[in-house]
Symmetry: C2
């Protein structure tokens, strides 16, 4: 089972584009990348979170059938911000009978046509009813984790700031990124609070965008394809929706479970991973992810991030070369697909200015909500 | 791959039950039916259409993880009124690697806590933006098909009425049905119009409810299970969302495509099917379904339905013994799961008063929206 192509629209505030036009651009963009016709696609997996809530737009399987003019199976999957990773996971299961089939995975989200209040409320649909009633938004939920982590391990907001610093540097090298500006630590620390201790510049933006992949079992297609990357593992874990049901706030248990399963399945070790896209919806999330994925010891992330070893050219594996959710943008349904696509680009040496050297294996880590759903994908060149 | 258990909550106006409580009842209900513990389930597929729009409730994978207290993979699927059939289809794909796994499929919908206007608007999310802007609701879309069909083949509203007459008779035999009252043709014809020529009593109701199935590859579980039924085919087709893009209004093309694929896969003929659950969201829909599935010739459905040969005890295959969507109720996300469950009950002779005799093969037909997504499932005992 190989990924043979990836396409991403520009991420950002795309006011002139509708959800339909984003989906269309991504589908025909990835077909062109793969040098395929739509007739060669056996099924489509589509990930989107909020079109139902924001624009009363559901039943997208049929809407995509109209866009492509075909009657093939099309599936819409939703798992909040992990929708893209879940769509990819189910696509791998769809091909697990080893039939000679080809599937297209497309994720898209249109978020900026609404007021920030409307979009924030719609995003809160990924939290529990109790949390929504308590007025907890996602910055609030991650702020609880950040406060707990900083206090327990004696770090300050400055430690968090290095996540955004690094990811904006990476974003400055990515022409598809929502933000392509570098930030200083001072500027991050002076940005206004969203939910203490998290500031605007600790937080991923509200973005529009779409991303698509082609995954195939067809040996002939793989052979004639210019690029191909193997899917070594795609593993999913879930956890309680309510933070108050969790054992502790300084870890995302579902990340630990999914990554253990994924490394076992892929039969490689952490040290073999040279490039990773991890789910940095807030700065604290990248630090927890690096620890829970097993790259860093629990509690050491706050120190490690300051060394910038995970920045391109650093001594360690490179993390979020795309700019992550923070700088690359976070069009929710597209994010998990884009993460896997970025690893595909890195392993096939198509990442341009942000190319990581000598990466044979890469990992993508996609999180839904405050950690209730996690997908870990490992690719190998 | 075998279905070994089915559970259905009562369908109806369940004002004392939340979406969460319906899901919980269905999950633990089907586990009890199968004599399984939750630890024996490897993954869950969940189908729901409208919780996002109606109650800002998404990311149900995590919410179900909290209900069951487990970290297993859970997937939420949405395809409007075909959500349940699609969830089942993806569950069969999940098991297609022939691993010794067991999956639970659960569908649920909570529709009656809102005004009929709110629920009708949320249901319209399954239609296109153009149709929504034109003020077309689902009764309106199916009324266009009904008018076209009645005029083309010279039938009257009386022909349509026999669908509801039959399905309410079946519903009177089903203790889980939303409506258990018999209707007369006169009463149906005198009921108020919703969208000419469709009347209230041509239309399926707004219902609450949940349904669940256990599907397994585990030979040991199948062997010790009291009941088991084989999945001979599960096929999906899609079509344009907009009616104005279709070639004609007197057929659902996706039904024709999916049923051709399904019969080919199952390697049986139409005549072998003795019991079917077809998607009768409106009376006209059952007539079109019977023709498009290949049971009746195009244009003859209006005449055939009046002979009541598809009523329990009739001369033909029995259609919608559960009462169909019309009498059994239509909690959208649960419907496709319930249809397959009803066929399971019929083939394992657990259908009580509404038991169809000598049925070895059965079919379930689940439609999203005005025919943009169709799933056809064939089971064999």
């Amino acid at each position: 089972m190989k990924i043979i192509a990836f396409y991403q629209t520009k991420f950002g505030e795309l006011w002139e584009k509708s959800l339909t036009s984003l989906i269309k651009e991504a589908i025909f963009g990835v077909l062109k990348e793969a040098n395929l016709e739509i007739d060669q696609v056996d099924a489509i997996f589509f990930s989107n979170m909020m079109a139902g809530v924001l624009e009363n737009n559901l039943h997208t399987s049929s809407k995509i059938s109209e866009i492509i003019g075909k009657n093939i199976p099309i599936f819409r999957v939703e798992a909040a911000c992990a929708s893209g990773g879940i769509a990819f996971h189910l696509a791998t299961k769809y091909l697990s009978d080893n039939s000679k089939k080809t599937v297209l995975i497309v994720g898209a989200e249109k978020m900026t046509d609404y007021s920030p209040e409307e979009t924030t409320l719609a995003l809160a649909a990924a939290a529990s009813g109790e949390e929504q009633e308590a007025g907890l938004t996602f910055p609030g939920l991650y702020a609880l984790m950040a406060n707990f982590y900083l206090q327990k391990y004696h770090y300050s907001e400055e430690n968090l700031a290095y996540v955004s610093f690094k990811n904006h540097f990476h974003g400055s090298l990515n022409p598809k990124a929502h933000f392509q500006n570098k930030l200083t630590i001072e500027k991050i620390l002076k940005s206004p609070y969203v939910a203490y201790p998290l500031k605007v510049l600790d937080s991923s933006p509200i973005s529009d965008g779409a991303a698509a992949l082609i995954l195939t079992n067809d040996a002939y297609l793989i052979k004639k394809s210019k690029y191909s990357v193997s899917v070594l593992a795609s593993e999913v874990a879930t956890d309680t929706i309510n933070l108050f049901q969790r054992q502790t706030f300084d870890e995302i248990l579902a990340t630990k479970i999914a990554s253990e399963l994924a490394f076992k399945k892929a039969k490689i070790e952490r040290k073999h991973i040279k490039v990773a896209e991890v789910h940095d919806c807030f700065s604290i999330a990248e630090i927890l992810a690096m620890e829970d994925l097993g790259f860093w010891k629990k509690g050491e992330g706050g120190k490690n991030i300051k060394e910038l070893s995970t920045q391109i050219g650093g001594s360690d594996l490179t993390v979020n070369p795309s700019g992550g959710l923070k700088a690359s943008g976070h069009p929710v349904g597209a994010t998990g697909v884009k993460q896997i696509g970025e690893i595909f680009l890195q392993l096939t040496k198509q990442a341009g200015q942000r190319q990581v050297k000598n990466a044979k294996y890469g990992l993508a880590h996609n999180v839904g909500g405050s950690g209730g759903t996690v997908v870990v994908t490992i690719l190998g060149s």
